[in-house]
C-alpha cells in the first residue's frame, strides 16, 4: 500500500474518532421552545404515544394566539414523559398526568407545568380520582386493584381489590363510581372506608362517567366489540337506580369518550363523529354535530367556553391532528400535535 493511501486511511479513522455528537435518543428540534409562558386559557393535549416506544408527550395550545408547543413536559422538565400517556386530571392546583406503561403519575404544578412529584410503583395506571386533600384513587388495567395514594407523600399507601380492569372514576358525595370496562357493571366504593358497597348493572363495556348539573350520573357503555348494543345510562347516585336508559341502534357502534359541558347541561360523546344531547333529552341524537369525514376521532374535550376539541390519530405513527370547533360546531382551527392525541385539559 502506498504511503499516500495509508495516510488517507489514518485521516479517515481519526475523522471518525473525533466526531463527537451530542444527541442521544429521539430528537425533535422543532419541538424545543425555551420560552414557554403559561397563559390563563391554555389547553394541554395529552399525546399517548406508541405502546413500548416511550414517546408519550404533552402539547400546549393557546387559543388566543393559536400557538402550539409540542413536548412541553420534556422542554420544561428536561426528560421525556414516558410510555403511554393515559389521562390528565386536575386536582387541588396540580395536574396528575397518568403515564400508563411507565407505571407512574407525573404531578405538575398547573401554574408552571413544572413537575412537583412523581408517583411510582403503579402497575398499569389509568385514571386519577382525588378524594380529599390527602387521598386519591388510581384505577388500573392489570393489577386488579385500585391504588390508594397519599397526596402528602405522593406514595401508594394501600389498595382496593376490584377483581379486574378499572377505568374512569367519579366522586359523588363520598362515594366513588368506578367503571369496569371488561364487564357490564360499575362499582360504587365508599371513599371513607375504601370498601365496595354496590354494583350497578349496565350494558357491556362501561368506560366513562360524568356528573350533570342535577347531580345525576351518566355512564357510557360501548357494548364491547360487536358483543351487544351500547348504552347511555342516567343514574341517580342517591339510590343507584337507572333513571334513563338509551340504547344505541347498531351493534357495530362503539360509543366512547363521554364528556359534559362546563355548565353540566349538555352531554357529548364520540360515535362515528361528535354527538351531543341535552341532559333533559329522552333519546340519543340521530345525527352527529361534527362528522369524521374519513378520519377516526380518538379524543374529545369541551372547553370552558364550550369549544369542542377533537383529535385524530391519523395512522398512529405520525403527528396527530386536533380540530377546534366553536359551540355551534363550526371549525375554528386545526393543528398538528404529538403522536396519538387522546385527551385535553383546559386551564
Amino acid at each position: 500500500m502506498s504511503k499516500f493511501s495509508s495516510y488517507i486511511f489514518i485521516v479517515f479513522v481519526l475523522g471518525f474518532a473525533s466526531c463527537k455528537k451530542q444527541e442521544i435518543g429521539p430528537q425533535c428540534p422543532t419541538c424545543v421552545d425555551e420560552n414557554i409562558t403559561v397563559k390563563y386559557d391554555d389547553v394541554l393535549i395529552g399525546c399517548e404515544g406508541n405502546f413500548g416506544w416511550g414517546n408519550a408527550s404533552i402539547s400546549l395550545f393557546n387559543p388566543t394566539n393559536n400557538s402550539i408547543t409540542n413536548t412541553v413536559f420534556q422542554n420544561i422538565n428536561g426528560y421525556a414523559l414516558g410510555d403511554v400517556l393515559q389521562s390528565m386530571t386536575e386536582y387541588n392546583g396540580h395536574l396528575f398526568v397518568v403515564v400508563n406503561n411507565s407505571g407512574k403519575i407525573e404531578v405538575l404544578d398547573t401554574t408552571t407545568y413544572q413537575k412537583t412529584a412523581t408517583i411510582s410503583g403503579l402497575t398499569s395506571p389509568r385514571y386519577f380520582c382525588g378524594i380529599n386533600n390527602s387521598k386519591a384513587y388510581v384505577s388500573d388495567l392489570f393489577s386488579n386493584q385500585i391504588a390508594i395514594l397519599d397526596l402528602g407523600s405522593n406514595a401508594v399507601i394501600g389498595s382496593i381489590n376490584t377483581g379486574g380492569w378499572t377505568e374512569e372514576m367519579l366522586l359523588v358525595n363520598d362515594k366513588v363510581y368506578v367503571c369496569r370496562p371488561d364487564t357490564n357493571f360499575i362499582l360504587q366504593i365508599n371513599a371513607t372506608t375504601n370498601t365496595i358497597e354496590d354494583t350497578i348493572i349496565l350494558a357491556k363495556g362501561p368506560s366513562s362517567l360524568v356528573l350533570d348539573s342535577d347531580n345525576k350520573l351518566w355512564a357510557l357503555s360501548s357494548g364491547g366489540i360487536n358483543d351487544e348494543l351500547g348504552e347511555l345510562n342516567q343514574i341517580d347516585p342517591s339510590t343507584n337506580n337507572i333513571i334513563q336508559k338509551m340504547v344505541f341502534s347498531d351493534i357495530s357502534n362503539s360509543p366512547n369518550n363521554l364528556k359534559i359541558s362546563p355548565d353540566g347541561e349538555t352531554i357529548y360523546y364520540l360515535n362515528n363523529g361528535v354527538n351531543q344531547l341535552s341532559i333533559y333529552a329522552s333519546s340519543l341524537p340521530t345525527t352527529s354535530i361534527i362528522s369524521q369525514n374519513g378520519a377516526l376521532f380518538y379524543g374529545l374535550g369541551i372547553s370552558p367556553t364550550n369549544d369542542v376539541y377533537v383529535s385524530d390519530a391519523v395512522d398512529y405513527v405520525q403527528a396527530g391532528i386536533v380540530y377546534r370547533y366553536d359551540s355551534t360546531a363550526s371549525l375554528v382551527h386545526q393543528f398538528s400535535v404529538g403522536i396519538i392525541p387522546q385527551g385535553f385539559w383546559f386551564k
Binding site: 500500500m1 486511511f9 479513522v13 471518525f16 474518532a17 466526531c19 455528537k21 444527541e23 442521544i24 435518543g25 429521539p26 430528537q27 425533535c28 422543532t30 419541538c31 413500548g52 416506544w53 416511550g54 414517546n55 409540542n70 422538565n77 428536561g78 426528560y79 421525556a80 414523559l81 414516558g82 410510555d83 403515564v99 406503561n101 411507565s102 407505571g103 411510582s120 402497575t123 398499569s124 392489570f142 360501548s222 366489540i225 360487536n226 357495530s252 357502534n253 362503539s254 366512547n256 362515528n272 369525514n293 374519513g294 378520519a295 377516526l296 385524530d312 390519530a313 391519523v314 395512522d315 398512529y316 405513527v317 405520525q318 403527528a319 391532528i321 398538528s336 403522536i339
Partner: protein, 629 residues
C-alpha cells in the same frame, strides 16, 4: 461436444458441494450453476468474513459486513432487516433454498439465526429475489451450507469472554473422506447485557445499568454429505436452536421481567444429480418453530407454533454453454397455531418458475423468467423478470447491467387470521422494481454502482377501526429510489502481508406516495426507520501471524414518526479486532481481542433502546486440520 460434457462434469464435481453459488470460467465467461441462482444481470452481495463472526448472529454479521440497515433493539434482541427502503417482511430469508421467514409474522428475527448454522450468506437485491421465491420486494437473503470433500478432519474449539458477562463457546468437528463428510457444531452463547447507559428518560440523565436483558442460546448443527459417484450427491442437513431472552423495556418503562423463548428445528434432505448438461436438485425440508413470549405483569403468555413442510426441485439444462433453461417447482404447507388465532390455520403454496438465459460469445447476456404461485388454491399475480448484461470493454473489465421485475408479498398469517382484526380481504402488496448497474472488475479490485427504483402498492399497515379493533389494511403506495456503491480491493503489501478493503454505501429515498387515509400527513415524506445514508468499511490487514481488522459503520438519521418531525440521530460505531495466529503442522491456535464501539459512542438504533458503549471481547481458538490431499 465430448469436451463440453467433460467440462460440465469437472465443474459439477468441484462446485456440487457449494450450494446456490456458481463458478466462473474466466476465459469463456461461462457460469455453470448446479442449482438456480440469479443470472449475472442481477446484483447480489456475497457476505465476506463469515468465519470471523461464527459466534455472532445474523444481525451482527449483516450490520458489520454490509451497508444494509439492521434495526436492532439491543444485543441479542429483536433485530430486523430493511433492504432498499422496504420493510422487514419484504425481505425473504432462505436457508438452503427454503423460506424461513416466520409464516405468522412474515419476517425473521435475525437474532435467532446464529452464524454457526451457515457457511455462506448472499444478499439478492431487488429483482434478483424472484429467483428465490415471491415476497422479496426489497430483496432476499440466501443462507447456505456446504461441505468440502477434501477435508479429512477439522476440529475447532473457540471460547470468547467479554464485557457484561459475554460467554461464548463453540465446538465443531468436520470429518470425512472423498465420498462422505460429516459436519457437527455445538455452541452455547450467553450474556447478561447489563451494560451501563445514559438514561435519558430520567431527571438529569443518570448513568444506569440495563436490566432484564440476559440472553442464553444453545445450538447444534449436524450435516451429512454423501457422494457415491460423480453424478449424485446427497445431504442431510439439520440445526436446532434453543434460545432464551429477557426482553428489556424501552427507557421510561419499569422492567417487567418479559422474556421470550424460541425453539427452532430445521431438517432437510437433499439430492443433486448432474449428467451431461442436465442438473437436478431436490430438497425436502421440515421446519418446526416454537415461540413463547411471557409478560406476567400484563398477563401475556403468547405461544406460536408453526410446522412447515417444504419441497423444492430445480432443473437446469444447458443446450450448449451459451444457452440455459431453468425450472423450479416448489410446494409447501405451513401449519400454524397461535394464541392470537384461537384456531389452527394451514396455508398451502405451490409455485413454478421458468427461466431462459442466453449468452453470446463476446460478452452479452440476457435472461427472461417468470414465476407463478398458487396460495390456498388461488392464483397469485404472475411475477416476470428480465435482465441484461453487457460487457463494455473487450477485456471484460467493465460491464453494465439492467433488470426489472414485478413481485408481490402475500399477507402473513397474522395479517389474515389474527383474532380479532385479521383481514382475509387483504390484497397482496405489489411491487415493481428495476435497477441498473455499472461494474468494474480487474484482478484484486472490484467496483460497482447501481441506481434502482421501486414502487410498492397496497402497502399493509395495521390501523384501528371504529370498533377499536386493529386491522391490517392496504394503505399506502411507497416509492423507493436509491443508489448503491460497493468497492472491494486487495492490496498485497509484501509476501507476508496484505490488506483487504471492502466498503459499501447506500442511499435510499423511501417515500409515501399516496394513502387511503383522508388526513394522512406522511405523503411525500421518508418512511420511519429508513436511513437515507448507510455506509460501512471493513479493512483487514494481515501481517505474518498478525491480523488487524477495522470495521466502521455509519447509519444516517432516521425519522421515527411518519410526519418526519422526530428522528433518531446518526450513529457511527467502529470495531477493531486484533488476533495472533500460531500454527504448527496441522494444529493452530488463535488468540485475539475485539474492541467494539471503539469511540464509546452513546447511541440507540430504536428509540429509547440504549446500546452498549465501548466493550471488549477476548477470544481463543484452537484448531486441528487435516485434508485428504
Amino acid at each position: 461436444m465430448r469436451v463440453l460434457k467433460n467440462y460440465f462434469l469437472v465443474l459439477f464435481s468441484s462446485v456440487a458441494s457449494v450450494n446456490a453459488t456458481s463458478q466462473t470460467d474466466t476465459l469463456k465467461q461461462v457460469e455453470v450453476a448446479t442449482t438456480i441462482t440469479p443470472a449475472p444481470s442481477y446484483k447480489l452481495i456475497k457476505v465476506t468474513n463469515i468465519e470471523s463472526h461464527v459466534t455472532d448472529n445474523l444481525a451482527d454479521l449483516l450490520s458489520k459486513e454490509t451497508p444494509i440497515y439492521i434495526k436492532s433493539s439491543g444485543p441479542g434482541g429483536l433485530s430486523t432487516i430493511s433492504i432498499r427502503g422496504a420493510g422487514a417482511s419484504h425481505t425473504q430469508l432462505y436457508w438452503n433454498g427454503i423460506s424461513i421467514n416466520s409464516p405468522t409474522l412474515g419476517q425473521l428475527d435475525l437474532a435467532t439465526l446464529p452464524v454457526a448454522f451457515i457457511d455462506e450468506a448472499e444478499i439478492h437485491l431487488g429483482a434478483s429475489s424472484v429467483v428465490d421465491g415471491s415476497g422479496g420486494l426489497g430483496g432476499a437473503v440466501q443462507l447456505n451450507t456446504s461441505a468440502n470433500y477434501k477435508n479429512k478432519l477439522n476440529a475447532t474449539f473457540r471460547k470468547e469472554l467479554g464485557s457484561f458477562g459475554i460467554d461464548k463457546s463453540l465446538f465443531s468437528i468436520n470429518a470425512g473422506n472423498k465420498k462422505f463428510q460429516s459436519k457437527t457444531s455445538l455452541f452455547r452463547n450467553s450474556s447478561f447485557n447489563d451494560f451501563k447507559y445514559i438514561d435519558i428518560s430520567k431527571e438529569n440523565s443518570p448513568i444506569s445499568e440495563r436490566e432484564n436483558a440476559e440472553t442464553i442460546q444453545y445450538g447444534i448443527k449436524q450435516e451429512f454429505y454423501f457422494a457415491p459417484n460423480k453424478e449424485n450427491h446427497f445431504a442431510i442437513k439439520s440445526n436446532y436452536l434453543d434460545s432464551y431472552r429477557q426482553i428489556s423495556s424501552a427507557l421510561g418503562i419499569e422492567t417487567k421481567g418479559e422474556h421470550q423463548t424460541d425453539k427452532v428445528l430445521r431438517l432437510m434432505g437433499e439430492w443433486r444429480n448432474g449428467k451431461n448438461k442436465t442438473f437436478q436438485h431436490l430438497r425436502l425440508a421440515f421446519v418446526k418453530d416454537e415461540l413463547n413470549y411471557i409478560d406476567t405483569s400484563l398477563s401475556i403468555n403468547s405461544r406460536i407454533r408453526v410446522d412447515s413442510y417444504k419441497a423444492t426441485y430445480n432443473f437446469n439444462h444447458y443446450f450448449n454453454y451459451l444457452l440455459k433453461l431453468s425450472a423450479q417447482v416448489n410446494a409447501g404447507a405451513d401449519i400454524a397455531n397461535s394464541t392470537g388465532f384461537g384456531a389452527q390455520y394451514q396455508q398451502n403454496r405451490q409455485s413454478i418458475f421458468l427461466q431462459f438465459e442466453q449468452k453470446s460469445n463476446w460478452g452479452y447476456q440476457y435472461n427472461i423468467a417468470a414465476r407463478q404461485e398458487v396460495i390456498d388454491g388461488k392464483l397469485t399475480p404472475l411475477i416476470p423478470t428480465i435482465g441484461v448484461k453487457y460487457f463494455l470493454t473487450k477485456n471484460h473489465h467493465f460491464a453494465i447491467n439492467a433488470n426489472a421485475a414485478r413481485n408481490y408479498k402475500a399477507p402473513s398469517l397474522n395479517e389474515l387470521y389474527w383474532n380479532p382484526g385479521g383481514n382475509t380481504d387483504l390484497l397482496p402488496e405489489i411491487g415493481f422494481t428495476s435497477e441498473m448497474g455499472l461494474t468494474y472488475t480487474y484482478r484484486k479490485l472490484s467496483f460497482g454502482i447501481s441506481p434502482y427504483y421501486s414502487l410498492v402498492d397496497n402497502w399493509i399497515q395495521w390501523l384501528p377501526q371504529e370498533s377499536g379493533i386493529w386491522t391490517p389494511i392496504n394503505v399506502k403506495q411507497v416509492e423507493n429510489k436509491g443508489i448503491e456503491l460497493e468497492i472491494k480491493k486487495m492490496v498485497k503489501i509484501s509476501n507476508k502481508s496484505k490488506l483487504h478493503l471492502h466498503s459499501g454505501y447506500n442511499y435510499v429515498n423511501s417515500i409515501n406516495k399516496s394513502s387511503a387515509l383522508a388526513t394522512d400527513n406522511s405523503i411525500g415524506r421518508q418512511l420511519v426507520y429508513v436511513p437515507k445514508h448507510t455506509f460501512n468499511i471493513v479493512a483487514k490487514l494481515e501481517i505474518k501471524k498478525w491480523s488487524f481488522t477495522y470495521n466502521q459503520t455509519v447509519s444516517g438519521k432516521v425519522f421515527i414518526d411518519a410526519s418526519n418531525i422526530t428522528y433518531m440521530p446518526y450513529y457511527a460505531p467502529a470495531d477493531i479486532n486484533i488476533s495472533y495466529s500460531l500454527k504448527k503442522d496441522m494444529k493452530s491456535a488463535d488468540i485475539g481481542l475485539k474492541v467494539s464501539n471503539l469511540y464509546n459512542e452513546d447511541y440507540q438504533i430504536m428509540a429509547n433502546r440504549p446500546l452498549p458503549g465501548r466493550w471488549f471481547l477476548l477470544f481463543l481458538k484452537v484448531n486441528l486440520n487435516a485434508t485428504n490431499e
